[in-house]
Amino acid sequence: MNTIVLLTLTGLGLAALYFLVASGLSLVFGLADVLNFAHGLFLGVGAYGTWWAAGNLPGAGGEGLGFVFAVAFGVAAGTAVAVLVELVLIRSLYSRTIEQVLVTVGLSLAGVALLQATWGADARPFPRPQWTRQVTGVLGAQVPNGGLLLIVAAAVVLGALLAFLRWTRYGLIIRAGVENREMVTALGIDVRKAFTLVFAIGGAAAALAGALGGVYFGTVSPGQGGSLLIFAFIVVVIGGMGSVVGSAYAAVAVGLLQQFVNYYGASGVGDLCVVALLAVVLLLRPQGIAGKVAHA
C-alpha cells in the first residue's frame, strides 16, 4: 500500500513535469501548427536562469522567499526568450509551417550548444530549498516534497490556464483559433497577437518546469530539456493536439504508467510502455484522447 501511494505520488510529480512542458507545446501546436522543437530550450533557460539567479542575483537564493524570487527570474527569462523567438523567428514565417518547424530545430541545436558552451556539458547541482529535500508522510508513504511541489504547481497552472481560456477574451480567441484559424482570421481578428501570447504562456510554463524540474532531479544540465521534450511530445499526441485538458489526462497516464512499470518491471521498460501506449492510442484513436481529427 505504502509503495503504491509513493509510486502514485512520484508518478504524478513526473506527470506534473510533463504537463507543464506539454501544455504550452499543445497550445502552440493547436494554434500555430508549429511543432516547437525549441520548447526544450525554454525549459533549459528557465532552469539555468533560476540556477544563476540563486547564486548571483542579490535578494535571490536557495531558501524561502529568495528561492521564489530566483524561480520568478528563471520563469521571466524563459518567457522573454519564448516571446523573442516568436517575434523574431516564427512570426516572419507566418503560415509557412515546415519552415517554422525547421527554424525551431535549428534553434534547439544552437541553443543547447550555447547553454553547453556557457555552463559546460556536465550537470550542475541545483539550489534546492531545504524543505524540498525532506519527505512528507502521506498515508504512510514517505513522499519527497519536491514532487509534491510539482504537483501543486501543475494543478495551479492547469487551473489558471483553464480559467484564462474559459473566461477571457484572448482565451476565447485562442480556443477559436485552435478550432479553426482561417475562420478566426476571416472574422478580422489578428491571430498573431494570440500566437505571441501562447508562446509566452508556453515559455513560462516550460521555464517553470525547468526550475521545478531542477528541484525534482537535484541537478540541471543542457540536455535535460531535450529528453523531457520527447515525452512531452508523446503526451501531446496522446492527449490530442491543442487540448490543455487532454494534455493533463495524457500526462497523468504517461507519468503513472512510467513510474509503476519502471518499479515493478525492469528500469526502462516503463519508457517503452509509454511508447507502446502511444502506438495503441494511435491505432484506436488517431486524433488523441481529446483532440479533433488530425489533418495534414
Partner: protein, 371 residues
C-alpha cells in the same frame, strides 16, 4: 573529394539559360560518372591540402573522414526520399540507421556471424522494422507523424541506453569484434577499402533514389508532396505509397548503418539520438530538398564541417578570441544550427539552388556572353 562533389551539376538549369553551351550540355549527363571516377581514384593521390585536411589525401585519417562524409551523403539522400520528394517529415530516421549500426555490431560481435550474413540480416531487419513502424505512424499525418516517428526512435535510444541483456554495451557503446571480419576491411592500412565501400553505398543510394523518383511511383510520391488529396481523388491509396517510400528509406538507412559500423569500428549510443535525425534534416535543407545532388552535398558538407569545426573550435585562433565568442564557436552544433536558421530564411533552396540563383548574375557578365 569534396571539391569534385561540389563541381557536380545542380538539379536542373532551364535550357534558355545555357543556349551557348551545347557541347557542354551534351556531356552533362556523364558528369556524375566523372565525379564518381574522380572520387574512386582519389585515394591514389598524395595531394596535401593544408587547412582542408590534416594529412595528405591518401592518409588513413583523411580517408576515414571522407568515408564518414560519404555515408552521410548517402543517408541524407535516402532521407530526402521522405522529406524532399514525398513531403513526409520523419523525425525518427536515426532509428533505422542505428538499427543498421547496432544490428551489424551485435550480430558480428555477440553472435559471431560472418559479416555478409550479419549485413544481410541487418538490412532485412531494418527494412521490416521500418515497414511495421511506418504502418502505425502513417495513421497520422503532418506534424503528428513527425512526433510519432520521434517517439518510436526514442524507443531505440532507450533500448540501447538501458543495455537490455547486455547486448548493446549501454553508454559505453560496443566496439566491433574484428576477428571475424574479412581481412581487407580490418586495420588502418585498409581504410581505403572502407572508403570505397562508403563510396559504393553513396552511389547505390543515389541510384535507387533517382530510379524511384523517375518511376511512376516517384511521380505519385511527388504528387503526395504537392497535394495529397489529389492523389486520393485519382483513386490511388496515399497510405500505401507513403509506406513504400518509408520502408525503402528505412532499408537504405539500415544499409548506411552497416557501412558506418565498419568505418568507425563499432557502435555508440550517439547514433540513436534524435539529434542525428535533426542533423539529417539540416543536411537535406542546407543542400536543397528534392534536388538531385543537394542532399548529397548537404550530407557530405555537414559532416565535414562538423568534424572540422571541432578542430577549428579548439584551434589557437579561436582560443585567443574573447570568451563570449570563443566558447560558442567551439561548439560545432552552435555554428551549424545558426547557419541552418539563416539558411531557412535567406537561402530556401539550399546549395542546389545556387546555380539558378546566380544564373541572372552570370548572364550579365560580358565574358560569359561570347559563345
Amino acid at each position: 573529394m569534396t571539391d569534385s562533389m561540389v563541381e557536380a551539376p545542380p538539379a536542373r538549369v532551364p535550357d534558355e539559360l545555357t543556349p551557348h553551351r551545347r557541347g557542354w550540355h551534351g556531356l552533362r549527363p556523364y558528369l556524375p560518372l566523372v565525379a564518381l571516377a574522380v572520387a574512386a581514384v582519389l585515394p591514389y593521390s598524395t595531394l596535401e591540402l593544408p587547412g582542408v585536411f590534416e594529412g595528405p589525401l591518401n592518409s588513413p585519417g583523411t580517408l576515414q573522414l571522407l568515408a564518414v562524409c560519404l555515408v552521410f551523403g548517402g543517408l541524407a539522400a535516402g532521407y530526402d526520399l521522405l522529406f524532399g520528394r514525398t513531403g513526409m517529415l520523419s523525425f525518427g530516421h536515426a532509428l533505422y540507421f542505428a538499427a543498421g549500426v547496432y544490428g551489424t555490431d551485435i550480430l558480428v560481435t555477440r553472435a559471431g556471424l560472418p559479416l555478409w550474413q550479419a549485413a544481410l540480416l541487418t538490412v532485412t531487419g531494418g527494412t521490416v522494422l521500418a515497414g511495421l513502424l511506418g504502418a502505425v505512424a502513417l495513421r497520422t499525418a503532418g506534424i503528428a507523424f513527425a512526433m510519432v516517428t520521434l517517439a518510436f526512435a526514442q524507443v531505440g535510444a532507450i533500448l540501447v541506453a538501458r543495455d537490455f541483456g547486455g547486448l548493446t554495451g549501454g553508454e559505453e557503446g560496443l566496439p566491433l569484434d574484428v576477428s571475424g571480419l574479412p581481412a581487407g576491411l580490418v586495420g588502418v592500412a585498409n581504410t581505403v577499402n572502407l572508403y570505397w565501400l562508403a563510396l559504393a553505398y553513396l552511389a547505390l543510394v543515389v541510384l535507387v533514389v533517382h530510379r524511384v523518383s523517375g518511376s511512376p511511383t516517384g511521380r505519385v510520391l511527388a504528387g503526395l508532396r504537392d497535394d495529397e488529396r489529389r492523389i486520393g481523388v485519382l483513386g490511388l491509396d496515399p497510405y500505401r505509397f507513403k509506406l513504400v517510400a518509408f520502408t525503402l528509406a528505412g532499408g537504405l538507412a539500415a544499409g548506411g548503418g552497416v557501412v558506418y559500423c565498419l568505418i568507425v569500428g563499432g557502435a555508440s549510443p550517439h547514433v540513436t539520438s534524435s539529434e542525428l535525425t535533426l542533423s539529417l534534416l539540416v543536411m537535406v535543407v542546407l543542400g536543397g530538398p528534392g534536388t538531385r545532388w543537394g542532399p548529397v552535398l548537404g550530407g557530405v558538407g555537414y559532416m565535414y564541417l562538423d568534424h572540422r569545426l571541432t578542430a577549428f573550435g579548439s584551434s589557437d585562433a579561436v582560443e585567443s578570441l574573447p570568451a563570449f565568442l570563443s566558447r560558442p564557436l567551439s561548439q560545432p552544433l552552435f555554428v551549424l544550427g545558426t547557419v541552418f536558421i539563416l539558411a531557412v530564411y535567406f537561402f530556401p533552396g539550399g546549395l542546389a539552388s545556387l546555380r539558378t540563383r546566380l544564373g541572372p548574375l552570370t548572364r550579365h557578365l560580358p565574358a560569359r556572353r561570347t559563345p
